[in-house]
């Protein structure tokens, strides 16, 4: 028997290590047609902010080799709408539900979190200090230790359940930021958010995105994400959630061998909306083949 359970700490235990990545899985319910959402360890819903946001102008997407750029810019109807309209539709799932929280100021992050603190059906929040697609806040918080510490500490004060902090790869040393998040009270860190990139339409001589630059995701970024997960797993004592370009179970296993306790699937859902369930099954097959009975054997199981 293979036990797929993973413990991310502070009460967040998943039936299996597979989560979805924020902004790529809507509110989960959009996938009801494709998969049984209860098969997932959990899902991270869309980036949520204190106030309604229209996001960036279009075009917001450009395809790149083995990847895509997006410049959505946190379009969402605000946390109040989420709590009133969306939250009730999510309580029926057994899978854990994690809300991705973003803001332009520390006060925004804190106020947004306060709306979520009391909700039984929300198992954790993922603090997005790494969104490259907004003018203020977002990634700015995730690229210096000082600002990361401030925002994490402020949110920690108002949130008692599991606090996951999502890190930006657009930094010289990601382990530094990870340690700051840990020191300020994060229960886990998730990485990576998108890498800042750009694409140009040579015919029209114009950027392909309305915002000129956007966030790169998909298999193209996998080697970078895996390296960062490995570095961070070796430098903090809290669990690490790995993501960036995971397309199949083998990719997920790479992240877990490198030290991730759980993984998130993002862009892969666009190409195969059933991929998450396939990855759950594939991890189980891998563990059987390698005679691992618990995810503990897998996590950080890289042989050097």
């Amino acid at each position: 028997m293979v036990d797929l359970n993973v413990d991310l700490g502070n009460g967040l235990v998943l039936d299996n290590p597979v989560l979805t990545a924020s902004g790529t899985f809507g509110y989960g319910t959009e996938f009801d047609d494709f998969i049984d959402l209860n098969r997932l360890g959990g899902f991270v819903v869309k980036g949520t902010t204190l106030h309604h946001r229209e996001g960036n102008a279009y075009p917001r997407m450009a395809e790149t080799p083995s990847g895509m750029l997006n410049a959505v810019g946190l379009q969402n109807k605000g946390v109040k709408y989420f709590v009133d309209q969306i939250y009730p539709t999510l309580t029926k799932y057994q899978s854990k539900v994690i809300v991705n929280v973003s803001g332009s100021t520390i006060e925004d992050y804190v106020s947004c979190t306060e709306y979520l603190e009391g909700l039984d059906g929300i198992d954790a929040i993922e603090l997005n200090i790494s969104c490259p697609n907004v003018k203020e806040g977002g990634m700015a918080f995730g690229t210096s230790c000082a600002s990361a510490e401030k925002v994490v500490a402020a949110v920690r004060k108002v949130y008692s359940k599991h606090l996951m902090v999502k890190l930006s790869p657009n930094v010289t040393d990601i382990t530094e930021i990870a340690r700051s998040a840990e020191a300020s009270g994060a229960d886990s860190v998730s990485l990576i958010n998108t890498i800042l990139g750009m694409a140009i339409d040579t015919n029209r001589r114009r950027p392909l995105l309305s915002t000129v630059t956007g966030g790169l995701s998909g298999p193209a970024v996998k080697p970078v994400a895996l390296r960062m997960v490995w570095q961070v797993a070796n430098s903090v004592n809290i669990p690490v959630v790995g993501l960036g370009g995971i397309m199949n179970a083998q990719d997920a296993v790479e992240f877990m061998l490198a030290g991730a306790t759980a993984v998130q699937l993002g862009t892969a859902n666009f190409i195969d909306p059933q991929v998450t369930v396939k990855v759950v099954e594939g991890i189980e097959v891998y563990m059987k083949e390698h005679e691992m009975s618990s995810t503990k054997d897998l996590i950080g199981g890289l042989i050097l």
């Binding site: 809507g26 229209e54 279009y58 395809e63 379009q75 190409i271």
Partner: protein, 257 residues
């Protein structure tokens, strides 16, 4: 009308002209109901230069044979690779996606306008309209005469009108220049339009002037095709809406054009 991921079998490939071809895709299980204006997305598996799925309108549906047809114009790596598929190959699809055209009142005069490969959804739409009205006018516009394709097929389902910019087929000029627009537009109950954005915008302007109800089928860069990535938005009076799930069919009154 649940969305499904399905591997469909290429039952037929019809090369229409240099750029355009039709794939008939057969479902091994009974076809779910598909509405006019909806689309499917294809995962182009054999091209290194394609990462995301590609959206294509449903051109025709045959429930008896469980086939869906798509009319594709070869414009880049994805559509070019699809031109290379062979009868018997499997194609990874998701469908039905998107909303659909709304239906007219019984017997109402309707005008279907297609520009370029934007004619694709108009065939199935006309077929769906036939039980509702017999006054179906299909205006097909293209730049050159040689791009006027499948006219006989459209003639079976409605009254075909054509314009070409080079004047080689039908009336010379843009679709908006067609005599129908001056002479009979006021009698039309609904316009359905799909084509290049400038064309749709000028049709929309005419429709507004003449106060004719008008729906357009929009395109946009799509990440997912089923409403989760928010990449494909367009501006409406109610803010950003997704072309893939709130659309692709929009009432022009809702668009910020």
């Amino acid at each position: 009308m649940n969305k499904t991921v399905q591997r469909l079998v290429v039952e037929k490939k019809e090369i229409v002209n240099k750029d355009n071809f039709i794939l008939s895709l057969k479902s091994p299980v009974p076809l779910v109901e598909v509405q006019a204006g909806q689309f499917l997305s294809i995962n182009v598996e054999k091209s290194k230069d394609v990462f995301l799925r590609r959206p294509f309108s449903i051109h025709d549906v045959n429930y008896g044979n469980n086939t869906l047809d798509v009319l594709i114009k070869s414009v880049g790596p994805g559509s070019a690779a699809l031109k290379e598929v062979e009868v018997g190959d499997l194609v990874d699809t998701i469908f039905p996606l998107g909303n659909s055209f709304t239906m007219p009142n019984k017997g109402e005069k309707v005008l279907l306008v297609g520009g370029g490969v934007g004619i694709a959804p108009m065939l199935y739409l006309a077929k769906v309209l036939q039980p509702i009205t017999s006054d179906i006018n299909i205006l097909l516009g293209s730049r050159k005469g040689e791009d006027q394709i499948l006219l006989d097929r459209y003639a079976e389902v409605g009254n075909v009108l054509t314009t070409t910019e080079d004047g080689m087929v039908g009336e010379k000029g843009y679709v908006t220049d067609h005599s129908f627009m001056k002479e009979r537009l006021q009698d039309v109950g609904r316009i359905y339009c799909c084509g290049p954005e400038p064309m749709m915008k000028s049709i929309a302007k005419l429709a507004e002037e003449k106060q004719v109800y008008c729906e357009v089928s929009l395109e946009n860069m799509m990440g997912c095709g089923f409403g989760v990535c928010l990449c494909c938005v367009t501006d409406t009076h109610e803010g950003h809406k997704c072309v893939c799930s709130d659309g692709p069919i929009f009432n022009i009154a809702d668009l910020k054009w």
